[in-house]
Subunit: 222 residues, 2 copies
């Protein structure tokens, strides 16, 4: 197991690092919040141990930024016993566990192991509309695999529910900005998507809004 340890008390950090390494846990340590955040973004760690009081950038800030960017690495917060408020805040922001200082290293080891025994609990973020379920994780629409462009487009349509998505907007988002504006790209892929909707027997149709773009329609609604 490899963890990132962000802590500004060097003496404590050294001791903890040493003890964790005896328990076969590799530790990368930094005393700097910004540096910590940079490292934390790499998909390298099984867990992050995060002190709340840090120079430059507080542990809570780091936690918040990571979670908002979709990072789901298990995080254990550390802080002085008094800072109860922080505990609540931390767990709210998506920390996985909390340990008050001073703590026994064995306790930390036990919690790290506990965290990593259970699989990382990332929630399913399925996009839904009528009888459609799009899973961006593996790019499947009701089980049917989509290509990258197909996926991008259906995602935009699903995110807008039954609002119209402009063709130019799709073009810009899916094919970089400086396209030699080829509306036909979008048309080709909408055509492919319609074929796949038929294939999976969905009742949803992609309606063309002439001059504007496309929108999803559920004929059974209304």
């Amino acid at each position: 197991m490899r963890i990132l340890y962000i802590e500004d008390e060097k003496l404590l950090a050294d001791a903890v690092k040493h003890l964790l390494e005896k328990s076969d846990i590799a530790v990368d340590w930094t005393d700097d919040g910004e540096e910590g955040l940079r490292l934390a973004k790499k998909p390298l760690y099984d867990a992050i141990v995060l002190d709340i009081m840090l120079p430059k950038m507080s542990g809570l800030e780091i936690l918040e930024i990571l979670r908002k960017s979709g990072n789901k690495t298990p995080i254990i917060m550390l802080s002085a016993l008094s800072e109860i408020e922080d505990k609540v805040k931390g767990l709210e922001l998506g920390a996985d566990d909390y340990l008050a200082k001073p703590f026994k290293t064995s306790e930390l080891v036990a919690r790290l192991n506990a965290l990593n025994r259970r699989p990382p609990l990332r929630e399913e973020k399925l996009l839904k509309f009528a009888d459609l379920r799009y899973n961006p994780e593996n790019r499947t629409l009701n089980g049917e695999p989509l290509t990258e462009k197909e996926g991008e487009i259906i995602k935009m349509l699903l995110e807008s529910k039954d609002k119209t998505v402009q063709k130019d907007y799709i073009l810009g988002r899916v094919w970089g900005g400086d396209m030699v504006s080829e509306d036909n790209y979008v048309e080709v892929y909408v055509s492919y998507l319609r074929k796949k909707l038929k294939k999976i027997n969905s009742r949803v149709i992609i309606k063309t809004v002439r001059g504007l773009g496309y929108k999803l329609i559920d004929p059974e609604a209304e």
Copy 2:
């Protein structure tokens, strides 16, 4: 039931042996760590009761050697109440239970019986999916030995069950963070893994999700 009891306090050992035998538990006793290890390797015992403080070789060492060699005999650790660190370490190394000295023999009897009623806790460390069993302890997939990288990758796939694991994520975790991004590493090893899946006649296939990563599929599910 027959157990191996490794304990250097002869007086205590005699008493415990006597009492256990009255509860219909056969006891082989040794006061020597090395001798104990030799005996423990025989597939002869339903359980091993292991004192931590031993001459020549500590109980934790014995435990570690046994578990690393794949031995799954249930083990109960004994130690003085104070040695809390040892408790954590012991359970981590794969001990099945822990008893602080001094203890009541009836308590030991109860725990031995409990251990032999439930299947060895060890099982849970195996990663399973369909007909696959991966043992990270000795890095074998249904008995077939894997290399380190192969093991890391199959572990990640197994931990994610049938979710897609991104190629970049694998790259980051298996080959350090700042790689000269070589997707081909992952491709080569996935290829090796597929060869091994065929070799062990598993029905599981590693499906490619183009542009994203890989996931395990059990064709017999669905």
